[in-house]
């Protein structure tokens, strides 16, 4: 590994120990074109989200020593309202996983879903429009940041209920198997979500029924303000796989190629009828739990260590070292993506809000009665 902090050290920091189940899958690396596409997707996530700063403006109402409000108060006066959870720092996971998927494969996501959507192929315009609640948004403005759906892209939505996405992906995988398609499904979940009962129930069923689903746990060491260390009895979520007799693997979530290799193996396994896999990607969010500093990290030392393993920088360095990317390419890519984000902001801002009578209504039910 080319980064300063070795992988073992990193995993020690990340998890308090290297899991017994850790396997570094050895698949052939993707061709250059694919590598560059992966880099582009990582940059797309990064720059899309960086641009959001300032678009939302939360006000905090809590007084010091308040026991009874809570950290969440997402009413915003900005052009983006409501809660926005940033993915910055975790880009290698979404991209490494989705690069192993086909367009028709399914993905369910969590509250922290921008990265998954973009990695699965989402366009900036309708993403940004959704965040601004416009009718040109992926969910016609009805969903918002946590609920970006695209039937076309197999995006079965982010989810505001921690852990709910796990059975949903399991159901999509069930559907694929039932219908005899080659599709697989991926559930993205946080390490916090792995403490929900749905995790247990879904993994057991997926294992029993050998469903083509991959559970991707992004262990970013925190669930909102709660350190994983005080919420998970054991440090490695991957070790929970053993309870269901399925493979569980700890992966370096800052290394997009490591993620991709593990994902490729799991997808291959799922497509060929081998059943589910649990991948735990050790990672870190570089910003606060939600936009504008809500649930900010309070351990600067730890943050500094992780910032040294920026997944984009690591990957760019590798691509440059391997002669796949020049410094000029790198800069050009960045500029291009930034420009595309800007276009999306303009597009979204000039899009109309949905009108009340355009709101999707379950046919046969009455909105006003």
């Amino acid at each position: 590994m080319s980064d300063q902090l070795g992988r073992r050290d990193f995993l020690r920091i990340a998890g308090g120990g290297v899991a017994a189940s850790m396997i570094i899958a050895a698949a052939p690396p993707p061709p250059s074109k694919k590598l560059l596409e992966m880099l582009r997707l990582m940059r797309r996530i990064r720059h899309f989200e960086e641009r959001l700063t300032g678009l939302y403006q939360y006000e905090s109402y809590l007084e010091k020593s308040d026991l009874a409000g809570d950290m969440y108060d997402f009413a915003s006066k900005g052009v983006i309202a409501g809660a926005v959870h940033l993915y910055i720092g975790q880009e290698a996971v979404a991209v490494g996983i989705c690069a192993a998927l086909e367009r028709e494969d399914y993905v369910t996501s969590s509250h922290r879903g921008h990265g998954h959507a973009i990695a699965k192929g989402a366009a900036f315009g309708p993403m940004m429009a959704e965040l601004m609640g416009r009718k040109t948004g992926y969910s016609k403005g009805c969903g918002g940041s946590m609920h970006i759906f695209s039937k076309e892209l197999g995006l079965l939505g982010g989810n505001g209920i921690v852990g709910a996405e796990i059975p949903l992906a399991t159901g999509a995988a069930f559907s694929a198997k039932y219908q005899g398609s080659r599709q697989v499904a991926v559930a993205f979940l946080g390490e916090g979500a792995s403490n929900q009962g749905t995790f247990h129930e879904a993994l057991n069923m997926a294992a029993l029924w050998e469903l083509p689903v991959i559970f991707v746990c992004e262990n970013n060491l925190y669930a909102a303000s709660t350190p994983a260390a005080i919420a998970l009895a054991l440090p490695n979520v991957a070790d929970r796989a053993a309870a269901y007799g399925i493979p569980g693997q700890v992966v370096d979530g800052q290394d997009v190629l490591a993620v991709h290799a593990a994902a490729s193996a799991a997808v291959e396994r799922a497509r060929s009828g081998g059943g589910p896999t649990l991948l735990e990607c050790k990672t870190y969010r570089f910003t606060s739990h939600a936009g504008a500093g809500k649930g900010r990290h309070d351990n600067p030392e730890e943050l500094k260590k992780w910032l040294k393993r920026d997944p984009i920088e690591l990957f760019e360095k590798k691509l440059r070292d391997d002669g796949v990317l020049t410094a000029a390419d790198q800069e050009a890519l960045k500029q291009q993506v930034v420009a595309e984000v800007e276009e999306a902001v303009a597009f979204a801002k000039k899009s109309a809000f949905p009108a009340f009578n355009e709101m999707p209504v379950t046919p046969g039910t009455d909105l006003l009665a």
Partner: protein, 320 residues
């Protein structure tokens, strides 16, 4: 014509719809007949019946995911009370995904659950929770009171493109058979049925409430003429039929097993009062279950539920 029980009627509907549409399947606990692990999937496929672990939250969520991607699950919650462990996939997922996805994604699924009190099963097996579902936008709510409706509504529920809560009733399970036509029929969602015509008072019965109201009507026959209306579906609710009846009778009584406080009786009164206030000669009333978890002891349980005698008394009171 031939005779059908309530459960036969539902079974027939499911079988016919499974035949008609390959994407229809049942999933739930103890729905048999699989006994062994080998070729599990193949065995399930044979009857299109997935026998699940005791993981309601997991398998309802799985059903939602399946419904989002082309299938039409009929998901069985063995007792209505057990929805406590899986409200999330029902009300936050199944019910909301259509809106949250901007109308892109439909969730065609039926959640079938036996409910009802009076079977001496105590506090955890006697719930009727239709009121929770009525208050959860995005769901339709169906409560058939006889075999004919049970079949026709099940077929409509399966064909509906949104999530439908189908509440069957354990007491009705073992009622006598009903004369039914051969072949298939549909009962549309959102169409009430006047189960007995009358002129003095409108009694709206929910599920077993219909049976009890009919019994009361019979007792009063010759003295008071009772019209019994069965909404059959609570969402959508056919207020027009109820209003037409109230316009005629001037009196409204709603009967259900669920606790009176916050029950659907209140909702029906709100709807009727809103448009038919002028037609009402007296205050409309609700006879519901007592506001308590259901006690096990048979005399206590009986005292906690409305029956035909209580209905007769209430009607006499209201018309005196």
């Amino acid at each position: 014509m031939r005779e059908l029980t309530y459960t036969q009627a539902i079974s027939e509907a499911i079988r016919e719809e499974m035949k008609r549409d390959e994407t229809v399947f049942q999933i739930g606990e103890d729905i048999g007949p699989v006994r062994t692990r080998s070729s599990l999937w193949k065995q399930f496929m044979k009857n299109r019946a997935w026998q699940t672990p005791i993981s309601e939250s997991g398998f309802v969520g799985l059903s939602v995911g399946a419904a989002m991607t082309g299938l039409r699950p009929i998901t069985v919650i063995m007792y209505c009370d057990f929805v406590g462990v899986c409200m999330d996939p029902i009300v936050n997922q199944a019910a909301k995904i259509h809106l949250m996805s901007g109308g892109q994604i439909k969730v065609p699924m039926v959640i079938r659950t036996p409910a009802g009190a009076g079977t001496r099963e105590g506090g955890h097996h006697s719930g009727s929770l239709e009121s929770w579902f009525v208050h959860s936008p995005g769901l339709k709510v169906v409560m058939p009171s006889d075999p004919y409706d049970a079949k026709g509504l099940m077929k409509s529920a399966i064909r509906d493109d949104g999530p439908v809560i189908y509440i069957q009733n354990r007491i009705l399970h073992r009622l006598g058979k009903q004369q039914c036509p051969e072949g298939e029929w549909l009962v549309p969602l959102g169409k009430a049925d006047v189960k007995r015509a009358g002129t003095d008072i409108t009694v709206v019965g929910i599920s077993t409430g219909v049976m009890k109201a009919l019994e009361a009507a019979e007792k009063l026959a010759g003295k008071i003429s009772v019209e019994v209306v069965d909404p059959r579906t609570l969402v959508p609710l056919d207020v027009d039929t109820i209003l037409a009846s109230v316009k005629k009778t001037g009196h409204l009584l709603v009967v259900h097993d669920a606790p009176r406080r916050g029950g659907v009786g209140a909702e029906i009164i709100r709807r009727v009062v809103e448009r038919g206030f002028g037609s009402l000669k007296k205050a409309p009333r609700v006879l519901g279950g007592v506001n308590t978890a259901m006690p096990y002891s048979p005399p206590l349980e009986d005292a906690c539920l409305p029956d035909a005698n209580v209905i007769v008394k209430a009607i006499r009171d209201m018309l005196s």
